[in-house]
């Protein structure tokens, strides 16, 4: 399905010209000169003998060291936050959720906000297909998360463009109330996390009959009577209740939930890659063809470190993996996404996103856009990704090492699977000698539950309850270079083309 393309000249530029475009924008944005002002790079580049002004092309850029999330965190501990900033005016600071315990704080400069205006135009055309009047329920996180500020920044940009939009901004904890409002306000679009969308849809189906009865009890109108009778003859779904015609989903991979969202809401979800570090400068999102998320190469310079390189690095910590620029990537290549952004307040130079992605295609998209498409698979580092719930595999290991009251673990292996659409942690455990099985399993399950957010998530139906399964032997799986995989993703959704 085709919709409006905001900037055809850029968005539909022949693929063969995108490298040049990316390099030109990289130079025009004076990324290196500005980044050199930041304590994040100064020392590191100094040690590597980098001359910022001399980095003009990708060939030069690829000689630079990578930047990791850990380095960003460490820099924020070592230096005052202002020492990391590369622009004259920071408007607002936003932070990541701190999956690994320490949130990363990202400055948003005046230039970032100005540039985001163009991104918003492009994104809305990408997701909705038109720039005319639209309305949406924006279910975001709370400050200091990006999704709170993002809503107001979208609104203000629409006002600046005098292009009407209608928003209801609601924080996630008030989601149910907000959805009721979206229903009566006939809002046509929604932005939220896909797992939450499915959870809400399941709640709608479960509670529809009781809700209709209650409504009829309160007000005995013909309309309410018909609604109540309808619940007796049909299974009510979210699409029967809400008027959503489009949905943008972010915060976690959408693919595992895609089928359920289509079924419940009757709409094709658009996935948005909402990493805090880059959303205001380099948004990545899915178009109406729903064949991967477009990475716009005029706002960033994307690379991928292939999986084999990552595995080699895991075995030999001194090995520096080689990245492939996106314009040379072949369809189906999987690896870690590396981005160089042209941001105002904090340009990220060769920033390893820690997310494993797959190149869906570098061919022109059915929508007409030529910028390459990717999909996000899961984390490439030690973070276990269960959608909105994420934790470090080493934190799990630390907790499991504490087990010892009812038995001990010889080996274990975490398998990330699904129960229906919900992520599920299945822990296979090979006990050491005799154990009191029931008590042993409970002791281990309790350790999983103390990982941040896990218990709350399964109790609230956001993920399936973790399962501990005792097995005679845990069959270890290793990377091609021999490293034991502690966490294995069995998720078939991630592997779908």
């Amino acid at each position: 399905m085709k919709g409006l393309i905001w900037d055809e000249q850029i968005e539909c530029m022949p693929f063969s010209q995108l490298q040049k475009l990316s390099e030109t924008k990289f130079r025009e944005a004076r990324v290196m000169e500005r980044a050199a002002r930041s304590a994040l790079y100064r020392e590191k580049w100094g040690a590597a003998g980098v001359v910022p002004e001399a980095v003009r092309t990708y060939a030069d850029l690829r000689q630079l060291p990578y930047l990791t999330g850990s380095e960003l965190r460490e820099a924020q501990v070592r230096y005052h936050p202002d020492e990391l900033v590369c622009s004259d005016h920071v408007c607002v600071w936003i932070s990541t959720s701190g999956t690994t315990g320490t949130p990363k704080w990202i400055p948003v400069g005046e230039g970032d906000i100005a540039n985001f205006r163009e991104s918003i135009r492009r994104l809305m055309a990408l997701i909705i297909g038109h720039m005319e009047d639209w309305s949406m329920l924006y279910l975001g996180g709370s400050a200091p998360f990006i999704s709170e500020s993002g809503g107001y920044i979208i609104l203000t940009n629409r006002m600046l463009d005098d292009a009407r939009a209608e928003f209801a901004f609601v924080a996630m904890p008030e989601a149910f109330d907000a959805l009721n409002f979206a229903r009566i306000a006939h809002l046509e679009g929604v932005f939220l996390a896909p797992s939450l969308a499915v959870l809400i849809a399941e709640g709608v189906t479960k509670q529809a009959a009781a809700g209709a009865r209650e409504q009829f009890r309160k007000e005995r109108s013909l309309r309410n009577l018909l609604a109540m009778l309808a619940t007796r003859v049909m299974r009510i779904k979210a699409k029967n209740v809400f008027n959503f015609r489009w949905g943008a989903f972010g915060g976690e991979p959408v693919d595992p939930y895609r089928g359920a969202i289509v079924d419940h809401y009757g709409l094709q979800p658009s996935s948005a890659y909402g990493a805090t570090e880059l959303l205001y400068t380099c948004p990545v999102a899915e178009c109406m063809a729903h064949k991967g998320m477009h990475v716009y190469m005029d706002v960033c310079l994307p690379e991928i470190i292939p999986q084999e390189e990552l595995e080699r690095e895991q075995t030999d910590a001194s090995y520096v993996p080689q990245a492939v620029p996106m314009w040379e990537a072949i369809t189906g290549l999987t690896g870690e996404l590396v981005l160089t952004t042209f941001a105002d307040a904090l340009p990220l130079v060769r920033y390893r996103m820690s997310d494993l992605v797959e190149v869906v295609s570098t061919e022109p998209c059915p929508c007409g856009r030529t910028h390459p498409r990717i999909k996000v698979l899961y984390r490439s580092d030690d973070i276990v990704n269960m959608g909105l719930i994420r934790f470090s595999i080493y934190l799990l290991k630390q907790k499991l090492d504490e087990v010892g009251v009812h038995g001990r673990l010889a080996k274990w292996q975490l398998r990330i699977t699904r129960e229906g659409v919900k992520p599920k942690a299945l822990l296979l455990v090979e006990p050491q000698g005799e154990v009191a099985e029931e008590a042993f399993v409970k002791e281990i399950a309790d350790k999983i539950d103390v990982l941040e957010g896990v218990r709350q998530a399964w109790e609230n139906g956001l993920i399936a309850q973790p399962e501990v399964r005792l097995v005679e032997e845990v069959v270890e799986e290793r990377t091609t270079l021999g490293k034991v995989k502690l966490a294995i993703y069995e998720d078939v959704y991630f592997k779908e083309a």
Binding site: P144, R158, V170
Partner: protein, 360 residues
Amino acid sequence: MSTIKIELEPKGTEQLPLTDLIQLGERKLVEGQVAERASHSSLYRKRWQKARVDARAVQNRSELQSLPFASAADILEAQKRSPLRQFPCAKVWAWFATDTQGDTRKWIPYGKQDVLRYMGLLARLGRVIGVAEGDLFLAVAPMAPRVTNAMPYLWMYADVLETKQKLEFVVGSMFMLGRSNWPEFALRKQPTVLLSRPGDALTVVEHFAEAAGSPSAKPKEAFERLRMGIFFGEPLAPLKDDIRDAYGVEPFDCYLSAEFPSLSAECSAHDGLHVWLDVCIPEVTPREELAKEKAEPQYVPKAVFLHEAAPGLEGEHVLTTFGEALPLIRYRTGDLVRVISTEPCACGITHPRVAILGRV
């Protein structure tokens, strides 16, 4: 970046003579066809029809007082009984909501001009209390969909687009307390202005102490650059001393509601909150009238215009606004005020002053 006109009166409106302000308000009421526009809303339509109100006939302030009051209960009733789309009078750009009361809440539509006016009033607030170039705000934000959630972001835009003071914002929500390290980050950033509900500011004290690694530390010891606090959402007076003790800042009281972010604000004279007469026509329903109404529910209390009220008069704050998506017509806010003065303030601002006493 494109420029946009923020709907503020030209600078100097704060110091216009009171008589000019009254005329300005009346002109906005009439020329903006406020009553006529309002009559299209489900909030007023049926009630006005029943009361045989001719909205077009409202040509001055006095005729405004012939219109029925509106209340929070009327909003809830209109939103319950009529399709929501019949509630706004103009195209809606944003919906904000009040706190939940029972299982319901009021959803308030904002038009483009309403959002811009909110920004403009934030810019004015900064001017009135002396926000300076490069000030760093720590905003402790209530959760969306409350209109106060938007404050830091719209203020940020008001600055980027108009005041250009290079303000910087660190925003932490109450909901994220204990789930985010924002108190620690705020300490590192050393804000100069605190923007918070008074109760929240006191709740956060222990989190700042924890972040500072000293359980007995007060924010005033940890925040060396903090010089002022802007407090909203509930009366400041009962907590003012505690806040001063904890933060050592000059506290400024500010009044706004989801129905209308009027941003009535205390100035440096700290002698009441200025009610901006260029964005609303305020009245006060005296306590005696409220008492009569309580004794006899059919009784319609009489209100006096704020600019005509005697200092010391206490009563319910009633507002008529010139809003785009939902003009409030004689809206009973449910807040009790005391008139401080209608004389020019020591700070030079001419808009009358009130103290917010609490709920009626």
